[in-house]
Symmetry: C2
Subunit: 211 residues, 2 copies
């Protein structure tokens, strides 16, 4: 649809559905993720969807290139949905990793482990990579996006303050970018901010428009 | 205060106030801004503060270098607070501009003006600069931070969809980074995301610690 400028009035322009919602109208969309941040981001696309959580062991082959892991796990997360996949279904799954000096930081085991991770991130650049998989009955597409994140040097007191107040034990790399630590520690990023939150939403929008 | 690792227990670590809250304990802090985004960001610092709005005409000298405008306006915004400034007062003011090809984009006058601004931002890099002023009875410090923002090429339909649904007529450059347009249009940023929202919160944290 082309919008003619002369047809548009400041006060009376009707509320259209978005091009993306029109493009995906044939699908019942499912976001297969238990992350509240991903749900929040997907909501921002203004297309109807539901959330469904199906567990999978997040294992990848030893020796796999770390850069390939997020897409691999995003695809793996589609497996438990396959037995009853609906003909009009469209499933979006994703996985996010934190990578520093070539090594993947997972979720911390406890306070000490989280403390060590944040000490390691302190004063350095790390990379956040999110892999995404879009699946329908007839096709599947995957992609990933990466963002460089630069942390200031953190004091032990700052790390302790964050861990005791926010307990980020469910988060890869032991931090949430939208929490206090994201406010005080991140000097700059290069790439998508939303990718660090867990979903490269601009790229996902483009990929869904082409799907 | 140095935190001894051996003193910290996963379960029983007491909730300390932050180093910043301790440092600023002598002050009654005021955020002099009507922006709900700035209030949200400042809240994330976990220091007590109140919001006060005092109007000022946001005018700057003709011929002023655009890069200097945000700090100039942040200082100007302190003026209406001066007549009854308290001895223990600490005031934070800020101003954010959108700059493209050396020209400042202000708040749009109407739909057509906003449409033109977003067409101008489409497919290009622009710069968001926020100037901040920290004021007490005895001293004043100012700084600014800039973030490069890269927009994808927007269709007329996308611009119309955004303007009719979100009506960003109170926003410099006619967009809010945390709204739908920020999700679908921003390919990447270089710098602080929160600076684009209106407050370079990491830099502000450091400056307040040194104040």
């Amino acid at each position: 649809m082309t919008v003619e400028r002369s047809d548009i009035n400041f006060h009376e322009s009707p509320l259209r559905t978005s091009a993306l919602a029109n493009h995906l109208a044939q699908y019942a969309i499912t976001l297969g993720s238990q992350s509240p941040r991903r749900k929040e981001l997907f909501t921002g696309l203004n297309v109807p969807f539901t959330v469904a959580v199906r567990e999978v062991d997040e294992l990848f082959p030893a020796g796999m290139n770390a850069l390939d892991v997020p897409e691999y796990l995003a695809v793996l997360k589609t497996v438990p949905f396959k037995p009853d996949f609906k003909p009009d279904g469209l499933l979006v799954t994703a996985d996010t990793i934190v990578l520093i000096e070539g090594q993947i930081l997972g979720k911390p085991l406890d306070y000490d482990h989280a403390f060590e991770m944040l000490q390691r991130l302190s004063g350095k650049k790390h990379v956040v990579i999110t892999g995404v998989c879009i699946t329908s009955c007839s096709k599947q597409t995957t992609f990933s996006d990466h963002t460089d994140v630069y942390f200031k040097s953190l004091t032990d007191e700052e790390i302790d303050y964050y861990l005791t107040h926010y307990q980020p034990y469910d988060k890869a790399g032991s931090y949430g970018v939208q929490e206090w630590i994201g406010y005080v520690a991140i000097e700059k990023i290069e790439g998508s901010y939303f990718n660090v939150m867990g979903l490269p939403i601009q790229r996902l929008y483009e990929e869904l428009l082409m799907f």
